[in-house]
C-alpha cells in the first residue's frame, strides 16, 4: 500500500521481465493488459496485532474493543501477538513463500483522523515472507502467479462520514487489527485471471484459518494495479483501483480500466486532428461520461489515499520501529507451524480420494462438500472450526458407513434442506450422530427413503437431541415390512407383514378397473396402483415390496390359503 514517485514506476517498467507470452484478447485486440494485485487480509486472531484488545466484527458496537495502545495514549507500547504472527506464517507457507528468519517492523507516517498514533506499523524494509507462488487450477489454462511478499501491518480505525451532521465519526474497534498484505507480481493478463487469483487466495486463507477472506465485510480488501500496452511494447503507466469489495466488481473494474486505457492510448497515437475531433466531441457532449473517466487516469485524482493527503508529497517517512525491532523466527517455530498446517483445499481433496477411493465417481458432489468446507466459519487464532469435511469423516468412521451414501445424503439432502432454509452449514443443528443414525435406519430398511427425507426435514425444523429412531417411532415412520421382509421393525406392535398386504389388498379392491387393465396386460397402470398403496402407507412402504405383493395378488396368486 505504498506509492512510489512516477519516475520509479518507469524505471521499474524498463526492467520488467515478462514471463507470460502474449495472447490475443478479443476485447482489446493488439493490446496487452498487465495486472498485479495487493490484498489486505484481516488476520483472524482473537486479539489485535500489538495489543490485548479483542478484534471486532462489523456488528460490534463502535469503540468497545479499544485499549490504551489502540487509542495511542501517551506512554503506551506495542506488544507483538505471536498468534497473529503464526497465522501469517501459515499463510506464507501455504503460498510457498520463503520465510524471513529476521523480519522487522517499520513505521509509515501520515496524518489522518483514523490513524491514532500518526503512523502505521508495517514491514517496509524487511517483510515476513517473500517469493511465493499461487497456482490457479480453476482456469481453463491454469497459470501460476508469483507472490512478491507478505508483510504484517496494523489496520487503521474506521471513519465514516456523516454528511447530514457534516462530521466524521471514528470507530477504533478496527484500529490495530492485524493485516497480512499479500503482494502479487504483475503476472495476470485478464480480469478472469485476476478473479481466479483472488478466489484461490480466499480459499487458502480460509483453509489456513488465517482470515475470513470476506470482501463484502472488508476482511479482505484488494488494490488492483492495471497497465495496458500495445503488443510488444513495455508496460504502460500503472493505474491503481482501490477498495474493491467483491470479486465480480473487481473483474468489471479491470475490464473497464483496460478498455479506457486502450482508448486513451489510441487517442494519444491518433493524428492531431483526431484528438481535436475527440476533444470537440467531448466538449459538445457535456453529459457524456468519457471525460470524467478519462480524467480518472490522472494519478492525482484516481487513487483513494491521495484524497487523503493530495497536497502533501506522499513521503511516508518510513522509520524502523524502535520498540519492536527485529521479529526473529527460529527454524523450530517455522517447522512446528509447517507440521501442524491444515491441509490446502486441493490437498484435502486428494486426501479424501485416497481414503475413500469409491468417491472418484462422485467428484461433483465431493467438490460441493469441499466448497462448503472452505466456506466454514473460521475459528480464532487458527483453532479449527468444525467444517463439512470433518462432519463427513465423522459420519464415515464409526460405525463404518458407505462414503457414497454419506456424501449423497450430505450434499443432496442435508445441504439442500439447509439452503432451502437459507442456513449455512455452520448453522446446521443436526449432529453427525443423528444424521448417521438416520442413514443407518435407511440402510437397514427400517424407514423408507421418503420417510428418511421427511424425518430430516422434521429434525431440521424441530432441533432436539432425540435420536432419529425415537422420532421415527413418534411420527410412525417405521417402514411396513412384507411377510418375507426382515422383521426389524417388529416393535411397531401390530404384525407389519399383514399390514402391508392388507394395504395392497385394499388397493386392489378399491381400484377394480385399474387391476383389470393390469391383468389385461397394461403394465403402466401398475404404477397407479403402487402410488395408491404408497400414499395410504404415508411413505412407510417399500416400493419394491409393494410391487412384488401387488403383482402377486393381481396376477392370480391370490389362492394362497393363509390370507
Amino acid at each position: 500500500m505504498f506509492l512510489r514517485p512516477l519516475a520509479v514506476h518507469r524505471t521499474k517498467h524498463r526492467l520488467f521481465h515478462d514471463l507470460r507470452t502474449y495472447k490475443e484478447d478479443p476485447r482489446w485486440p493488439g493490446w496487452q493488459v498487465i495486472i498485479g494485485i495487493e490484498t489486505h487480509a484481516q488476520i483472524k486472531s482473537r486479539r489485535k496485532l500489538f495489543s490485548d484488545s479483542f478484534t471486532s466484527t462489523p456488528d460490534d458496537t463502535p469503540n468497545t474493543n479499544v485499549s490504551a495502545f489502540d487509542a495511542a495514549f501517551p506512554g503506551t507500547l506495542p506488544k507483538t501477538n505471536s498468534k497473529a504472527v503464526d497465522l501469517a506464517l501459515r499463510t506464507s507457507l501455504a503460498l510457498r513463500c520463503k520465510i524471513n528468519a529476521r523480519s522487522s517492523f517499520d513505521r509509515k507516517h501520515y496524518f489522518y483522523s483514523d490513524l491514532t498514533s500518526g503512523y502505521q506499523i508495517t514491514q517496509q524494509y524487511s517483510p515476513l515472507a517473500r517469493d511465493g507462488e499461487l497456482s490457479l487450477h480453476s482456469l481453463d489454462s491454469p497459470i501460476t502467479v508469483r507472490i512478491k511478499q507478505i508483510q504484517l501491518e496494523q489496520d487503521t480505525a474506521k471513519s465514516t462520514f456523516d454528511s447530514r451532521g457534516s462530521r466524521s465519526q471514528i470507530d477504533l474497534n478496527r484500529a490495530g487489527t492485524g493485516l497480512m498484505e499479500i503482494v502479487s507480481e504483475p503476472d495476470m493478463r485478464s480480469p478472469e485471471e485476476a478473479g481466479a487469483y483472488v478466489r484461490a487466495l480466499q480459499s487458502i486463507l480460509r483453509a489456513m484459518g488465517s482470515s475470513d477472506g470476506n470482501m463484502e465485510q472488508g476482511s479482505l480488501r484488494c488494490d488492483v494495479n492495471v497497465s495496458v500496452n500495445r503488443k510488444g511494447d513495455p508496460p504502460g503507466t500503472r493505474c491503481e483501483i482501490k477498495n474493491l469489495n467483491s470479486v465480480r466488481f473487481m473483474m468489471a473494474a479491470i475490464s473497464k480500466m483496460s478498455c479506457l486505457q486502450t482508448f486513451s492510448l489510441k487517442l494519444i497515437n491518433q493524428p492531431a486532428h483526431e484528438i481535436k475531433r475527440q476533444k470537440e466531441f467531448l466538449i459538445s457532449n457535456p453529459g457524456s461520461s468519457v471525460p470524467q473517466e478519462t480524467r480518472g487516469f490522472n494519478e492525482d485524482t484516481f487513487e483513494t489515499f491521495r484524497l487523503r493527503s493530495k497536497e502533501d508529497a506522499p513521503d511516508y517517512r518510513y522509520m524502523p520501529d524502535p520498540n519492536l525491532g527485529t521479529l526473529a523466527l527460529s527454524q523450530s517455530r517455522i517447522d512446528e507451524i509447517r507440521n501442524n498446517m491444515p491441509p490446502l483445499p486441493w490437498e484435502l481433496r486428494s486426501k479424501i480420494l485416497d481414503k475413500y477411493p469409491s468417491l472418484k465417481d462422485k467428484e461433483q458432489s465431493l467438490d460441493v462438500l469441499l466448497n462448503v468446507d472452505n466456506g466454514r466459519e473460521v475459528g480464532f487464532d487458527g483453532e479449527d472450526g468444525a467444517g463439512a469435511v470433518e462432519y463427513f469423516e465423522r459420519l464415515c468412521q464409526a460405525p463404518k458407513r458407505d462414503p457414497i451414501v454419506i456424501l449423497n445424503w450430505m450434499t443432496h439432502e442435508l445441504l439442500g434442506q439447509l439452503a432451502a432454509r437459507k442456513q449455512s452449514f455452520y448453522q446446521n443443528s443436526l449432529t453427525s450422530e443423528q444424521l448417521g443414525e438416520l442413514v443407518d435406519l435407511l440402510q437397514d430398511k427400517i424407514i423408507t427413503g421418503t420417510s428418511g427425507k421427511y424425518l430430516l426435514r422434521h429434525m431440521l425444523d424441530n432441533p432436539s437431541s432425540k435420536s432419529p429412531k425415537e422420532i421415527a417411532a413418534e411420527l410412525q415412520l417405521v417402514a411396513i415390512a412384507s411377510s418375507s421382509g426382515t422383521s426389524k421393525a417388529s416393535d411397531a406392535g401390530s404384525s407389519p407383514s399383514s399390514e402391508l398386504e392388507i394395504l395392497c389388498k385394499a388397493a386392489i379392491s378399491e381400484l377394480p378397473s385399474e387391476v383389470a387393465a393390469f391383468r389385461a396386460g397394461n403394465k403402466n397402470v401398475l404404477n397407479k396402483i403402487l402410488g395408491h398403496v404408497m400414499k395410504k402407507s404415508r411413505g412407510r412402504a417399500n416400493a419394491k415390496e409393494v410391487r412384488h405383493i401387488v403383482e402377486k395378488l393381481a396376477l392370480g396368486d391370490n389362492h394362497n390359503g393363509d390370507l
Binding site: P74, G75, L77, D312
Partner: protein, 509 residues
C-alpha cells in the same frame, strides 16, 4: 501547585516518623518550590502505608513525562496541559506497591527535549544551589535538563528520591549541575510502559538521590522484567550480566575496598577543547585518589565519540518526529480552530494550526529536524548514517570492556578490558539562567550533552556522582560538578558499587 492541599495536611498531627517525613517534605516543597519551580503538581499525603515494605517511608518525585492516573502528566507542554493518563506507568505502580509515597510530579523540558530545563510551559527550573526567592537574579543558575525538576527537588531536600528520564543525558547532566547523584540504568532494565516516548530506542528511566544506598534501594525494586515493554530485557540476560559483573566484583576485591585491582578506563576523547578548566582539575584529583586506593587506571580510546552527538540528534529527533505525531489536536492536544485565511482543502493545514500553537520552540525544531532526516531524500544520508555511527559507538565500548554486552544478538567473549570507565559528566558547571535564555535558539546548548550521549547510544549503565571540593580558589563554595562512572550493559550493580567508592573518597583535599 496544590498549596492548599499541603497546608491542610501539615496541620494534621504527626503519627509516625515516616508520616512526619512525608509532611516535612511537603512543607519544604511549600516553602522552597516557589523559588525553585521543581514541582508542577504535589499529591496528597497517603493515609496508611504499611511500614514493612521495601520503600516504606520514602518520598519519591516523578518526572512529569511519566504517566500517573492520580496527577496530570503534562510533559511540560501546552499540548498535554490538562492531560490525565488513564493508567499508571509500571515504575509508578512498583513504587507505590512497595510503599513509596509519590510526592508529586516534577518540571522538565517539554517532552524531555532540552539540556537546561528552560523549555517548559511551567517556566524554567532554578538550580537550588543559587536560587533566590525574589525573581530571577543575575547569578541564578539553570538546573540542567531535561529532568531538571527531579534533580532540583532532590538537591533542595524536597524528597528522598526522584524519577527522571534520560535519553541523551537528561538525568546525568542535571545531576551534575545540581550536585546530586543521577543514575541512568542500562537500557531495558527498567520498564518504559507509561513513559511518554521521546525517542524509544534511547529513553531510559533514571534515578536521583543524595546517596547511592537510596538509589540502590529504589533501583532494586524497579529493575524488573515487564511484559508490557517490548524492549524490557529478558530475565536470563539480566542474570547473565549481573552474575558476570558480580564475579568481577568479588574475585579480587575485598568488602572494604572494591577499588583494589579494579580496572578503570579513562577515555581520552572525553576531555574536549570545549571543557572548562574548572572541571578538569577536580576530575584529575578523583582519578588520583582512586589510583592511590588500589585501582588500576588505564587510558583508553573510544574513537567514534566525536560523531556521537550528531548521530544522537539525528536519531532522537527522527524518533521524536514520529512519536509526537499523535499530538495533532484530533487525537491529543487542544484543537486549534483554523483561522479565516486558512485553506481548508488541505488537511495538513488543519493539523498545522494545533501543532504550531501547542508545541514549544525546541520541540518544533526537533520535529522539523527529525521529519527531514526521515524524508525519502535524506533518509540514507542522515538516518541510516546516524544508525551506522551508533553501531560504531557501541563497538567502541564493547572493545574496551572486560565484560561482553549481553543485550546484543552476539555478545563478544570475555577479554582483558576495563571494568568501568570514568570521565567528567559535563563540560561545564551550570550555566546562568540569564545566559541560557540567549542559548534558547542556538545549537550551542546541544554541546552540553557531548559526554553523556555515547552511553545513551550504547544503552550502558551510567552514574553521575557529585565531586565535592572543600574550597575552590576564591574560597567560596564552588558550583557543583559531577564525575561519571560508566559500565557495560547490565553491570549496573558494579557501577553503583564503584560510585559508592567514588563518593566515599570525598571530599577531596
Amino acid at each position: 501547585m496544590r498549596i492548599n492541599v499541603i497546608r491542610k495536611c501539615s496541620r494534621r498531627p504527626l503519627q509516625s516518623l515516616s508520616y512526619s517525613t512525608r509532611v516535612q517534605h511537603r512543607e519544604i516543597i511549600a516553602a522552597k518550590n516557589p523559588s525553585i519551580n521543581a514541582f508542577v503538581n504535589v499529591s496528597q499525603p497517603p493515609r496508611d502505608i504499611p511500614q514493612d515494605l521495601p520503600l516504606s517511608g520514602l518520598t519519591v518525585a516523578v518526572k512529569d513525562n511519566i504517566a500517573t492516573s492520580f496527577l496530570p502528566t503534562t510533559c511540560s507542554s501546552t499540548m498535554l496541559k490538562d492531560f490525565v493518563s488513564p493508567f499508571d506507568a509500571t515504575v509508578v505502580k512498583i513504587l507505590q506497591r512497595n510503599g513509596a509515597d509519590i510526592i508529586g510530579k516534577t518540571n522538565c523540558d517539554e517532552f524531555g527535549m532540552g539540556s537546561l530545563n528552560i523549555h517548559s510551559v511551567h517556566g524554567p527550573v532554578k538550580n537550588p544551589f543559587n536560587a533566590s526567592k525574589e525573581g530571577t537574579t543575575k547569578d541564578e543558575r539553570a538546573a540542567g535538563g531535561s529532568s531538571g525538576g527531579s534533580a532540583a527537588a532532590v538537591a533542595a531536600g524536597m524528597c528522598d528520591a526522584a524519577l527522571g528520564t534520560d535519553t541523551g543525558g537528561s538525568v546525568r547532566l542535571p545531576a551534575s549541575y545540581c550536585g546530586v547523584i543521577g543514575f541512568k540504568p542500562s537500557y531495558g532494565l527498567v520498564s518504559r510502559w507509561g513513559v511518554v516516548s521521546y525517542a524509544d530506542s534511547l529513553d531510559t528511566v533514571g534515578l536521583f538521590a543524595n546517596d547511592i544506598p537510596t538509589i540502590q534501594r529504589v533501583f532494586d525494586q524497579i529493575a524488573v522484567y515487564d511484559g508490557l515493554d517490548p524492549t524490557s530485557a529478558p530475565v536470563e540476560i539480566r542474570e547473565k550480566a549481573y552474575s558476570h559483573s558480580m564475579e568481577r566484583l568479588t574475585s579480587q576485591k575485598t568488602e572494604t575496598s572494591i577499588l583494589e585491582g579494579l580496572k578503570i578506563g579513562i577515555p581520552q576523547e572525553y576531555f574536549p577543547s570545549e571543557m572548562a578548566s574548572s572541571i578538569v582539575e577536580p576530575i584529575r584529583k578523583i582519578i588520583q585518589a582512586l589510583k592511590s586506593r588500589g585501582a588500576e587506571i588505564v587510558p583508553v580510546s573510544l574513537p567514534s565519540t566525536s560523531y556521537a552527538l550528531s548521530s544522537y540528534y539525528v536519531l532522537a529527533s527522527a524518533e521524536a518526529s514520529s512519536n509526537l505525531a499523535r499530538y495533532d489536536g484530533i487525537q491529543y492536544g487542544k484543537y486549534v480552530e483554523p483561522g479565516p485565511g486558512v485553506d481548508l482543502s488541505k488537511t495538513a493545514q488543519v493539523y498545522a494550526q494545533t501543532r504550531t500553537a501547542n508545541f514549544g520552540q525546541e520541540v518544533k525544531k526537533r520535529i522539523l529536524l527529525g521529519t527531514y532526516a526521515l524524508s525519502a531524500d535524506a533518509f540514507g544520508n542522515y538516518f541510516l548514517q546516524a544508525q551506522r555511527i551508533r553501531q560504531l559507538v557501541k563497538d567502541d565500548f564493547n572493545a574496551v570492556f572486560s565484560i561482553p554486552n549481553y543485550f546484543t544478538d552476539m555478545p563478544g567473549s570475555v577479554k582483558d578490558g576495563v571494568d568501568v570507565l570514568i570521565h567528567p559528566s559535563a563540560i561545564r558547571t551550570a550555566p546562568r539562567l540569564a545566559e541560557s535564555e540567549d542559548e534558547k535558539s542556538s545549537l550551542d546548548s546541544y554541546v552540553q550533552d557531548v559526554l553523556t550521549v555515547p552511553a545513551s547510544l550504547a544503552g550502558l549503565a551510567a552514574l553521575s556522582v557529585p565531586v565535592v571540593e572543600t574550597t575552590n580558589k576564591e574560597g567560596a563554595q564552588a558550583l557543583p560538578i559531577g564525575v561519571s562512572v560508566v559500565g557495560q550493559w547490565g553491570t549496573d550493580d558494579l557501577v553503583l558499587s564503584v560510585g559508592r567508592a567514588v563518593a566515599a573518597i570525598q571530599p577531596l583535599v
